[in-house]
Symmetry: C2
Subunit: 623 residues, 2 copies
C-alpha cells in the first residue's frame, strides 16, 4: 500500500473499545418554538395530526429480536412489528403449520440487514429481503401483506452479517459470511484454521412466481471475516463490493489479533462474470451447490487494500464510486469504479492472495477523507445532491461531506454511538435528501430509565436546510443494525385476502363447516366470524371440538369477515396453541391432543362488542 | 330487579357485533399551531426535546404478545418491551436456565391486566403484577430492573381475564376466571356443565422476601364468566367487586345464548372475612389448595344485579362507590358501598343463587347514567376531582361525567372503538387528572397501511382544561387490554447489577475464568467484557469452548462491565442458543451438544467499536 492512511495504534484500540467519546452538543438546538420567520417548530416538524399520514416508511432490522420494525417518518411512530426469524406469540407466527415449517424449529434469529427489491436501481416497493446472522437464513417479505413468504437456510453460510443487499434489478441478493468455518460447518480444530476454514459468499435468487428463495451459486473465499457490502449501480451495476477484516486469520482474542495489520481489503466482484462461469461449468458441485473456487478461476474477483478493519462500504448513487469507512482508522476512503476497471484492464496487480488478484491501491483510490477529530467512521448514506453522510461511532456524530472534494460540509452530534444510518431512499440511484435517521447503539439517559438494560435510540435528522438538525429521538427495541426508508406511496397493500375457492382448506359458508375423522386424525374445516367460531355446522354445539387423547388435530380456520381491520385470533387455553387469521385468510393449526381435559378456546384479537363471547371448547376425552 | 335499565334487544345484539358506529369528530382540533394566547401547540404538548424526559411511565399489557409495553407519556414513545409470558429472542428470555424454567415450556401468553403494587392505595413503584389468560399464569416484575422475577401457574384457574388487581396494601392479587371448567381442567361433557363446571377465584400473595408468588386460597364459584374486577379502597378496602356474564350458563353460541337475561351480577366479596374463614378451617383442601365453597359458608360473598353482560366495574378513588358499565346496555350504574353494607346488615336479600345471597338492587344502586347516544360503555377511569371517564366501544368516544349527579360533562371522539382507558395514577386513591389514554381496538386508516392486519391505536387525551382534547395517536402492537400510568419519579431503577461474591456461578476476575469437565457435563465459568469473551483463562484460546458430541454444556456467564448501558449478548451460530447479560449480571445457559461441528459464538448486543470482534467458537467433536 503506497500511501498508508493513519491507523489507530494497538494501545489505542483497547482504549477505544472501553471508552465512548462524545462530541460537543452544547450548540444543538432543542427549542420547540416556531421561529419568527414562520418556519415550523421542531415539534411541529415531527407531528402528524389525525387525518394525515407519515411521508415515509422506515423498515428497521430488529437485530437479535429476529423481527422487523416498521416506522412512520417523520413521526417516528412504530406502526408494526413483523416477525421474521423468531416465533411470535402476538400473531401466532411459528405456530400455524406453514410458518412453523418455515421457521425450521429455530427459536431465535439475528436479523441484520433489510433490503428492498429494486427495479432500475429504485426501490419498487414489492418485497423486502432480510438475513439472519444467528442461524444462517434469508427471508423474503411480501409488501402487499407485510408477511414473510419464504425463509431459506443457506448452506455453507455462517453469519451472513453483511447481507442482504440486492442488485439493481433484484437479480440476486448476496450473502457473504461474517464467520469462517469448514464447509457445511463440519468439525475441524482451530489449529487447522488456515487450511480447513473458509469464508463463503452465496448468490440467492427469488423465484418471482413461487415467491421461493433458492441458492443460485456460491464463491469459496479465504478464511477472513466479511463485513458490510453494497451492490453497484448503473456503470457498476454488474459489480458488488464487500469489506473484510481479520485478514490476519486470527483464531482467538480478535479485538487484538484481528487488528494487527495496517490494512485489510475490499473485495470487488463482477457477479455477471461469475454467473457466466457457473453457466460455463467452471464451478464445482459440492452437496448440490455450485461453488466457484478463486484458485481455479482467473477473473471476476479482486481485492483492493483499505485502512484496517473497515466496516461499511457504500456505492454512490451515480454508481461511480465506493466509499469505505475505517472503523479503526479515522478516515473514509473514496475509490473509483472506473479507475478499478482501468486497473484491471491494465493489469495493475500487486500480488495474488489466496488466488485473488490485489489491485494497486493508488490506481483505484481517489481520495482519503479525514475530518478533524471524527473517530470511528462506520457507514455512509447519501442525499439527492450526491453528498455523503458518515456515522462516527466513537465521536458520536454524523459528518456530511462532499465525495467530489473530500470537504467537510456539516457535522451534527447524535446520542450516542451511531452504527448505521439511513437516508430517505438512500440506497437507491436517486436518494430523496429529505431525512436521515441515525441508528444509535447507546441511549444512556435519553429516556426514562427501564433498568440496567437501556433501549437503543434512533434520531431523525432534518436535511431541509444546509445545516443538519436532530428533530426527534425515538427509543427502539434491540436492535436496528440497518434500515431502509421508502416513499409511502410506493407500498401498495391489500385490505383483505381475496377468496380462494380453489383452497381445499378454506370454508367461506357456514353450511360447509365440518369435522372429519380419519383414523386417529381429526380434521376441522371451520370459520371465524364476528362473533363466533363455527367448526361443525351440523353439531349440537357448533363451536366445540371434541377429540380423543392421542388424536392428531388439524384445524383449518378461515376468517370470513371480509372487512378492513377485522382480524380474529384463535387461542386454546392451557394447550399452548395460538394462531391469527386476518380478514379473508385461511390458516392451518396442527397438534397432537396429548393431554385429556377441558380447554376453552377463544378469539384473542378484539373484534367486536361481543368479542368476549367469541369462545368455545376443545374437549379431549381421556384414553 | 325493581328498576330495569334499558337493555339492547337480541336482534340489536347481532347488529352491534357486526357494526361499529363512529361518533362525529368533525369538531376535533387537529391544528398544530400555537394559540394566540401563548398556550403550547398540540405538537409541542407531546414533544420531549433531547435533555428532558417524559412525566409518566405507562405500562400497557401486550395481550396475546405475552409482553409488557412501557411507554413514556406525553411523548407516547415506546421505551421498552418487557417479555413476560412468552419467550423473547431479543433478550434471550426463556433461553437461560432460570427464565426457561419460569416459562414452563409455554410458547405464548395472553397478558391481560397489569397492576402496580400499592401502599395505602397509592402506586408504590416497586412491582408490577400481570396475568395470563392463555395458560393461566400470574407474574411479578421487579421495577428496579424491569425484569420478571417469578411466574406461577395457578391451579383451577381458567383464563384469569379480569386480573390482576391488587388490594390497597398489596395483601393480595385476585384472579377470577373468565371461563368455567371442571376442577383441575379435567374432562367433562358440556352436557354436565351446570353440575361439573365451575368458576374460581384465586387469592395470590407475593412473598416479599423471596419475590415468589403463591396461591393463598381460592373460592369456588358458579359456572359463569367473570369479567373485570377492582379492589376496594379506604372505606371499602376489605372488599372487591367482579362483573359476571353468562349467568345463563350457556355452553354454545355465546353471543346469543349468554345475552338472554336482562341482568347479570356484580360479585362483591369481603376478602378479609374470607381470609378469616380459611384461617378458621372453613375451607376444603383440594389438591393442596384451600378452597371456600359458597354453599358451605354463610357470608363474605354477595351478588348485586346489574344491566346484562357488564364489562368493567371500577371503584371510585374515595372508595365509596363502584361503577358498572353495561356493554350491551347503554348505561353505567353507580352503586354505593355504604348502601351495600347497610343492605347486608339489614338483610335486604332477594334470593340465594348457588349459595350466594343476592342483594336488593334498589337498596344498593345509587344512580343509572345514560348519556344520549353513548353506546357500549366498557370501562371507567377517574381524575383528581373524582370525575369519571367511560370508554364507549360502539360510539367510539370517551364520556366524562359526574358520579355524584350523573351529569355528562364532556365527550371526545376517539379512533376507534376504545376498550379500556387509563388515566394518570387512575386506579389509585389519588388520580392526577393530567392525562387519559384511550386504548383503541381499531385503527382503520389512522396510520400508513401495513397490510390486512392493522395496529391497534392508543390516543393521548389532555385533561388540562375542562374540554378533553386528543393530542396524540400512537400505533401499538397487539394488544393493550389495559394499562396503568405512574409518575416517573416513583420508579427507582438500578444502573448495574451489584457484585454478588456469594454467587458460585459468577466470575468477576479473568484469572478465575475456567472450564470444568464432570463426566459428560462441561461447566464453563466465563465472563464477557468489552470486547471479548473469556471462558478459560489458562487455555490457548480463552474464547473457545470445545466439547464432545452428546455432552451437556452449562455456561455461566458474567458481564463484568459495571458500566451504564453496556449489555452483552451471547449467541451461538447454528445452535439456536441466545442469552443476554446486563451490566454486572450472571446468567446460566444449559444445553446438550447434540450436533457435532464448528459454531461461532458472538456478542449480539452492540457494545463497543470492536463489538464485531467479540466472538469465539463452540467446537463440538463428533462421537
Amino acid at each position: 500500500m503506497k500511501k498508508a492512511v493513519p491507523a489507530v495504534s494497538g494501545i489505542l484500540v483497547g482504549f477505544l473499545a472501553a471508552t465512548v467519546f462524545f462530541a460537543d452538543f452544547t450548540t444543538q438546538g432543542t427549542s420547540t418554538s416556531a421561529t419568527p420567520t414562520g418556519e415550523k417548530s421542531t415539534a411541529e416538524k415531527v407531528y402528524i395530526p389525525f387525518g394525515q399520514q407519515d411521508e415515509y416508511y422506515m423498515f428497521a432490522s430488529g437485530g437479535h429480536s429476529g423481527q422487523l420494525f416498521v416506522y412512520g417518518v417523520p413521526s417516528m411512530r412504530r406502526i408494526r412489528t413483523v416477525p421474521v426469524f423468531s416465533p411470535d406469540s402476538a400473531t401466532g407466527y411459528g405456530f400455524d403449520k406453514e410458518t412453523k415449517e418455515m421457521l425450521g424449529g429455530f427459536r431465535w434469529g439475528d436479523f441484520h440487514h433489510p433490503a428492498f427489491s429494486e427495479k432500475n436501481g429504485e426501490y419498487d416497493g414489492k418485497y423486502m429481503f432480510a438475513t439472519d446472522v444467528a442461524n444462517n437464513r434469508v427471508a423474503v417479505m411480501d409488501l402487499s401483506t407485510f408477511v414473510v413468504k419464504d425463509i431459506l437456510k443457506v448452506p455453507n453460510t455462517v453469519g451472513p452479517h453483511c447481507a442482504a443487499f440486492v442488485t439493481q434489478n433484484s437479480e440476486y441478493l448476496f450473502l457473504p459470511t461474517r464467520f469462517s468455518a469448514p464447509i457445511g460447518q463440519q468439525y475441524a480444530s482451530l489449529d487447522d484454521y488456515k487450511t480447513k476454514y473458509n469464508g463463503f459468499m452465496s448468490a440467492v435468487k427469488m423465484n418471482e412466481k413461487t415467491k421461493k428463495l433458492e441458492v443460485a451459486w456460491q464463491v469459496k473465499l479465504p478464511p477472513w471475516s466479511y463485513d458490510l457490502s453494497d451492490a453497484g449501480k448503473k456503470v457498476s451495476g454488474d459489480w458488488a463490493v464487500v469489506t473484510t477484516y481479520n485478514t490476519e486469520e486470527a483464531t482467538t482474542n480478535m479485538e487484538i489479533n484481528a487488528s494487527q495489520k495496517d490494512r485489510d481489503y475490499i473485495l470487488l466482484f463482477n457477479w455477471r462474470e461469475l454467473e457466466k462461469m457457473v453457466r460455463e461449468g467452471k464451478a464445482d458441485t459440492i452437496n448440490g451447490v455450485k461453488i466457484i473456487d478463486p484458485l481455479k478461476v482467473k477473473s471476476g474477483l479482486y481485492l483492493v487494500p483499505v485502512a484496517k478493519s473497515p466496516h461499511g462500504v457504500d456505492v454512490t448513487p451515480d454508481g461511480k464510486r465506493f466509499i469505505a469507512s475505517g472503523k479503526l482508522a479515522p478516515a473514509m476512503t473514496v475509490f473509483s469504479f472506473e479507475k478499478a476497471f482501468e486497473a484491471i484492464k491494465n493489469n495493475k496487480i500487486t500480488e495474488q492472495v489466496k488466488g485473488i488478484p490485489v489491485l494497486d491501491y493508488a490506481s483505484v483510490m481517489e481520495r482519503e477523507v479525514n475530518p478533524e477529530n471524527a473517530l470511528g467512521p462506520l457507514h455512509t448514506q447519501f442525499d439527492d445532491k450526491g453528498m455523503a453522510y458518515t456515522t462516527m461511532f466513537i465521536s458520536s456524530e454524523i459528518v456530511k461531506w462532499d465525495p467530489n472534494t473530500g470537504k467537510t460540509l456539516d457535522r451534527v452530534p447524535v446520542q450516542y454511538s451511531p452504527g448505521h444510518s439511513v437516508s430517505a431512499e438512500g440506497d437507491s440511484v436517486s436518494p430523496d435528501g429529505r431525512y436521515i435517521v441515525a441508528l444509535n447503539k447507546l441511549a444512556k439517559d435519553t429516556y426514562l430509565s427501564v433498568g440496567p438494560s437501556h433501549p437503543e435510540s434512533m434520531q431523525l435528522i432534518d436535511l431541509a436546510s444546509d445545516k443538519m438538525r436532530v428533530i426527534q429521538s425515538a427509543p427502539v427495541d434491540p436492535e436496528p443494525h440497518y434500515a431502509q426508508m421508502i416513499k409511502a406511496d410506493k407500498i401498495k397493500t391489500i385490505e383483505v385476502y381475496p377468496k380462494d375457492e380453489t383452497n381445499p382448506n378454506a370454508v367461506y359458508q357456514q353450511k360447509n363447516a365440518r369435522i372429519e375423522r380419519k383414523g386417529n386424525e381429526v380434521h376441522v374445516y371451520g370459520l371465524a366470524m364476528r362473533s363466533k367460531f363455527i367448526f361443525d355446522d351440523k353439531a349440537k354445539r357448533k363451536d366445540t371440538i371434541e377429540v380423543k387423547e392421542g388424536d392428531k388435530v388439524v384445524i383449518h380456520l378461515t376468517n370470513v369477515d371480509f372487512d378492513e381491520d377485522i382480524t380474529h385470533g384463535f387461542g386454546i387455553n392451557g394447550y399452548d396453541q395460538d394462531i391469527e387469521v386476518q380478514p379473508g385468510e385461511t390458516k392451518t393449526l396442527e397438534f397432537v391432543a396429548n393431554k385429556a381435559g377441558t380447554f376453552p378456546l377463544y378469539c384473542t384479537n378484539f373484534c367486536s362488542a361481543l368479542h368476549q363471547e367469541m369462545n368455545g371448547y376443545l374437549l379431549v376425552q381421556p384414553k
